[in-house]
Point group: C2
Chain length 133, copies 2
DNA sequence: AGAGGTGTCACATGGATAATGTGACAGATG
DNA sequence: CATCTGTCACATTATCCATGTGACACCTCT
């Protein structure tokens, strides 16, 4: 069984969905450092995608330092990678600007957006603390 | 001169950048309902992009009900369009989840993210009130 | 009526990316 | 040695992005 459990949606690239699901699993503590990550072929089989697609997703996660390779063994979850220079700035500027524009577009109020973020944050952070504790 | 003033960045589709810049201008009050929107050819010329690309962006904004067509005349800014069913839900779930994951990824703290959003919100909303008043 | 602006449409090309298909190789484990 | 692992090198198909080119109907102004 795959530690990655999610539904593939049409319209968004499979590889992006896999990468995001993995990041979410790392951050929420579903996959802890040292634990094995599904192999290329296992991931492809479980999600019913092509091994090459699975391989590319795993390659991305390795480049992003979420995973480490044990040659001939497989990949394991690494310690949470340090953010690269510029990552924080890009998030705080472009992504925040984007979500604010979209929120105003759908006639959301500021408190509603803030509350939604707090909720989501708690939902993701709490399981991690439980897993670490 | 184009009421849309922004720098095209490499790496992101031009059409997406144009659409976002337009949305931001509408929401911030830089472009008010009734005002003319740049023509396909003027927009293409000013931004130094292909007329077809400009046309596609404008088509999207029309479908999204940001713009209205005056046949033979041009397009004008419409009243802020009502959000479609599902827009709010998608933002509150997927987009919020995405930005929260990315924020934790770059080791941001919750208050920092919330503050950045409040700042950005004020930056976009305030000019609009001034323009309307 | 004519010129020149507007949106619109129908083709086309080249390039990049996504996803799949197929086959092969080296390293580690049992 | 069999079987798992990651890795690599090709390939095809489809989609999207951006551009190129030409044309048409509508409206306004002179």
């Amino acid at each position: 069984m795959t530690p990655l459990r999610f539904q593939l949606k049409a319209g968004e690239p499979i590889i992006d969905q896999v990468i995001f699901a993995a990041k979410k699993a790392f951050i929420s503590g579903e996959l802890l450092p040292g634990e094995p990550f599904p192999s290329v072929r296992a991931l492809a089989s479980d999600l019913k995608i092509h091994p090459n697609t699975a391989h590319k997703a795993i390659q991305y996660l390795i480049q992003d330092r979420w995973l480490e390779v044990r040659q001939g063994i497989g990949t394991v979850v690494a310690r949470r990678p340090e953010p690269r220079r510029g990552d924080r700035k890009r998030l705080l500027q472009q992504e925040v600007e984007h979500i604010v524009v979209e929120a105003i577009r759908v006639e959301l109020k500021l408190p509603e957006l803030l509350e939604a973020i707090e909720e989501q944050w708690a939902k993701i952070e709490k399981p991690q603390e439980a897993a670490l504790g």
